[in-house]
Symmetry: C2
Subunit: 166 residues, 2 copies
Amino acid sequence: MVSTPLPAVAARPDGKKEKESDSKARLRLWIRLLRASRLIEGMARERLKAQFGATLPRFDVMAALFRKPDGMLMSEISRFLMVSNGNVTGIVDRLVADGFVARSQRNGDRRTSFITLTRKGRAAFAAMAAAHESWIDELLGGISARDAEQMSAKLKSFRSDWESEA
Amino acid sequence: MVSTPLPAVAARPDGKKEKESDSKARLRLWIRLLRASRLIEGMARERLKAQFGATLPRFDVMAALFRKPDGMLMSEISRFLMVSNGNVTGIVDRLVADGFVARSQRNGDRRTSFITLTRKGRAAFAAMAAAHESWIDELLGGISARDAEQMSAKLKSFRSDWESEA
């Protein structure tokens, strides 16, 4: 959603603006959140492709696996990434072919395979993650670390399953 | 991009947490922004479909036209929505069929058509926009209007072309 109309704020005789309603304030915040996420995600997508030949879904799958050294089931990866199993299968197949990911059985259960990052995969992901962090630091550089912390706190209800405790 | 690894914050002997680096603070903010925008956009998509039988791109095109009573060229709509002309054409064709949008020539120029919302289209969009504003108000209800204003100000570099001056 790119936009939604925000009625112009009426000018008052004293030159100040009328106070917006609470819902208008949240609507403006929403539009800016959406625009920021679109722009930053687009930039990250381009740079991942240009600098690492990687797609965002591939980065996401590797990020998920990086945080679970014991491995994940395909269904777990899908659930966390909110994409279909079929999509994850294709991504994992390519990661296996590249030597970044391995499938293994656990506890003698031959029916379900656990997916883990290989040492090579962990190194490749660490490089991407460091670059990604620096891109975000650049793109959100207009926001001080203190402000970023305060804003994260206000958005705590959108805390990701993936975040460390903090 | 669903996630990126945030190293766990190390515990200190005094029980306080180590201060995160600035880039980590921005990375956490980014993850929450992204998660918030994904969740809210998904909810808006579902509700537009269920309550109005509308898609997000359709809503976006109508929002664009709502703000330009004099009409827009197809190319202008595409540019603002960051989608291909082909996609916009299909959406506009359906809006014309529904009587929400009209094509017209201007200044005797028969080659380029201007797209405008009809009266019916304006009424339909106004209803959707009011519902949309109430959904956002609900989904971001955990953020006070004052905090929303402050956060919008911090995100001012992501100000949309579509926003009214404020």
